[in-house]
């Protein structure tokens, strides 16, 4: 297949686009109406899926486009969730109004944390973020105001009836998941995405062309951190209780990493595919306890060894498709 054929296949015709648009709208519409025809249990699972997807997408943006591998991704989850709970409880204000504030708090935290973290690079950066996440966990564990080891419940949610509460959290999660995807696509197709991809391909060439590497990475760091913080806040509106050990748990990072690795690092489709795979595996096998984790870990290892591009690379190896239009591969002759 030559490069011209690739380009033709990658750009659907106008009619094709219209069909895709209608299908997407129908799916989104169905998802938006879900609270009226699904059970609470289904909605809660969907909240988990959308929020974990947003976290994995953010992790993948950092690792796949910024070269910023983060092992301590849970710090954003924790900061977002704790900011929401503390703000809403102390001020006694409706948590939905507080969601943007919690997101802003995470953005501020990301900005400050870049100060020490951006001193490190590569694998050192990766483990350094884990150290920072641990520090936050220990701090909240020892902070009476934040409820110490027992954490705190989201009090303001008690005044809503069950249906409103569930539907409200569900819609927040839907907006978070879809919004994260839209923001990621806009970012990658815009100036920042171009700068990041040029840095990823050759840092020296990017710098020589006038790309401010540190500024591009910082912008990505703050955007991805905010997305993760919002997702964390919504995820904990679902469970209604934050505790230091659960909220700052490495498990959040592990889920994001598994999803990105399984789906494909450095693509937008990867986290979508990865999230579907991850939740299929979890819903089918999590009953097996440690064996489930052994299997999941082995699967990630096998993926890294045999298909480092993840499941999405197996798809693109066979079919030349680019649904998000963000790939900028050089045409091969």
């Amino acid at each position: 297949m030559n490069s011209l054929a690739l380009i033709h296949q990658a750009r659907p015709r106008k009619a094709g686009r219209a069909v895709v648009g209608v299908v997407l709208l129908a799916v989104l519409g169905a998802l938006a109406l879900a609270p009226w025809f699904t059970s609470f249990a289904t909605q809660r699972l969907l909240v988990e899926i959308f929020t974990v997807f947003a976290m994995a997408l953010a992790w993948n943006l950092l690792a796949g486009y910024g070269g910023l591998v983060v092992v301590g991704h849970q710090m954003f989850v924790g900061v977002g969730a704790y900011a929401l709970f503390a703000l809403s409880n102390r001020l006694g204000i409706n948590p939905w109004i507080m969601l943007p504030l919690a997101t802003a708090a995470t953005a501020l935290f990301a900005l400050l944390s870049a100060l020490p973290m951006f001193r490190l690079s590569g694998a050192h950066f990766a483990v350094g973020t884990w150290v920072l996440a641990e520090m936050l966990r220990i701090l909240t564990l020892n902070n009476e105001w934040l409820g110490a080891g027992g954490g705190m419940p989201l009090e303001a949610l008690a005044s809503f009836d069950r249906w409103t509460r569930n539907a409200g959290v569900y819609w927040s999660a839907l907006v978070t998941g879809v919004g994260a995807l839209v923001i990621a696509r806009l970012m990658l197709r815009g100036r920042l995405g171009l700068a990041l991809m040029s840095v990823r391909d050759s840092e020296a060439a990017a710098a020589a062309s006038g790309v401010s590497i540190q500024r591009a990475k910082l912008a990505l760091w703050v955007i991805a951190g905010s997305i993760t913080g919002l997702a964390g806040a919504v995820a904990y509106m679902n469970t209604l209780q934050v505790t230091p050990d659960a909220t700052f748990s490495l498990n959040w990072s592990a889920a994001a990493i598994f999803i990105a690795v399984l789906g494909g690092i450095g693509t937008l489709e990867g986290p979508i595919l990865g999230t579907i795979l991850y939740f299929l595996l979890r819903e089918s096998f999590s009953g097996y306890g440690s064996w489930y984790f052994i299997g999941l870990g082995s699967l990630a290892i096998a993926t890294m060894v045999f298909a480092p591009g993840g499941a999405w690379s197996l798809v693109t190896r066979r079919w030349a498709i680019d649904p998000f239009g963000v790939r900028r591969d050089m045409p091969r002759r």
């Binding site: 020490p116 001193r119 694998a123 150290v131 592990a254 984790f293 290892i301 890294m304």
Partner: protein, 288 residues
């Protein structure tokens, strides 16, 4: 004052153990340019292997090392040969994510085999003995583990500087391509290095297991302390890692004096502050 000196002495001896944790990490980082996220879990694995050997043969923890050190060497050699060699040299991301998966697998295998209960290695009377040095009481076990740590560091430093293996290590660390050209079989060499790293881990894990009760999930914290020792000391400097370990140990015990729950927090804090002041580590060379 007395108490302060005692805390600092305790911190130095704890730090010598952290340094020994970090030595392996420093070597694999220097030679293979990879961080093994499962490093801490391998320390815990070593401690569990010791406890199994001790139970089976009815021997003490130090004697059990005669069996555990060779076992860990073989595990390390095999791990590098079968798995890690496939991703070494592919950049920072691949080895990191692969060993992250390995860490999850190891933790859950330990959980499955040994349950989630905590264990410790019984060293009998020896673990409780101590003596008085000018009013400062010093435990025999921490002192012995410090002496062993210093000895291992001196030995490793000598190996790197003077032996044929050490020359290979320095050559591969500087330029793997050229080292291969002049006849270094880096696949096999990497496996030997990881074998050595795991043998050192075996030693460290016995001291750790006698000192602290451990559980299958104790690994990640060990990894973080090792990592801090290595980065604080600076890359490409074995004794730097030793000093880095000492600093983390003292910071943790002094921090625990301030507030009992905040020991590790102060260790992390000192690490971050030192990093802001000297990103290349205390003894690191100017640029990486």
């Amino acid at each position: 004052m007395q108490a302060l000196i005692e805390t600092i002495a305790g911190g130095l001896m704890l730090g010598a153990l952290y340094a020994l944790f970090g030595l392996g990490l420093s070597l694999s980082l220097g030679v293979m340019k990879m961080i093994n996220i499962a490093h801490g879990d391998l320390i815990v694995l070593g401690a569990y292997l010791c406890s199994t050997v001790m139970q089976l043969l009815g021997i003490g923890p130090f004697v059990s090392l005669l069996a555990v050190i060779p076992m860990m060497f073989v595990i390390g050699y095999g791990l590098q040969r079968v798995l890690l060699n496939r991703v070494v040299g592919r950049g920072a991301l691949s080895p990191l994510l692969l060993t992250f998966g390995l860490s999850i697998v190891l933790q859950n295998i330990l959980q499955e085999v040994y349950t989630a209960d905590t264990r410790s290695l019984q060293a009998g009377e020896f673990a409780l003995q101590g003596f008085d040095l000018g009013g400062v009481s010093i435990g025999l076990l921490p002192l012995v583990s410090t002496v062993i740590s210093v000895a291992i560091f001196a030995g490793t430093s000598w190996l790197i500087g003077h032996s044929h293996l050490g020359r290979q290590a320095r050559a591969v660390a500087d330029d793997p391509g050229t080292a291969r050209l002049v006849g270094v079989n880096d696949r096999n060499f990497f496996a030997l290095v990881t074998g050595f790293v795991l043998a050192v881990i075996a030693l460290a894990s016995v001291m750790y297991g006698i000192r602290t009760p451990f559980s299958p999930t104790a690994g990640p914290e060990r990894l973080l302390y090792s990592f801090e020792a290595v980065v604080l000391g600076g890359l490409g400097n074995v004794w730097g890692t030793f000093v880095g370990g000492l600093i983390i140990g003292v910071a943790q015990l002094l921090g625990a004096k301030v507030s009992s729950g905040l020991g590790p927090f102060f260790g992390h804090l000192v690490f971050l502050v030192a990093l802001l002041a000297r990103p290349q580590g205390l003894f690191g060379k100017g640029s990486r």
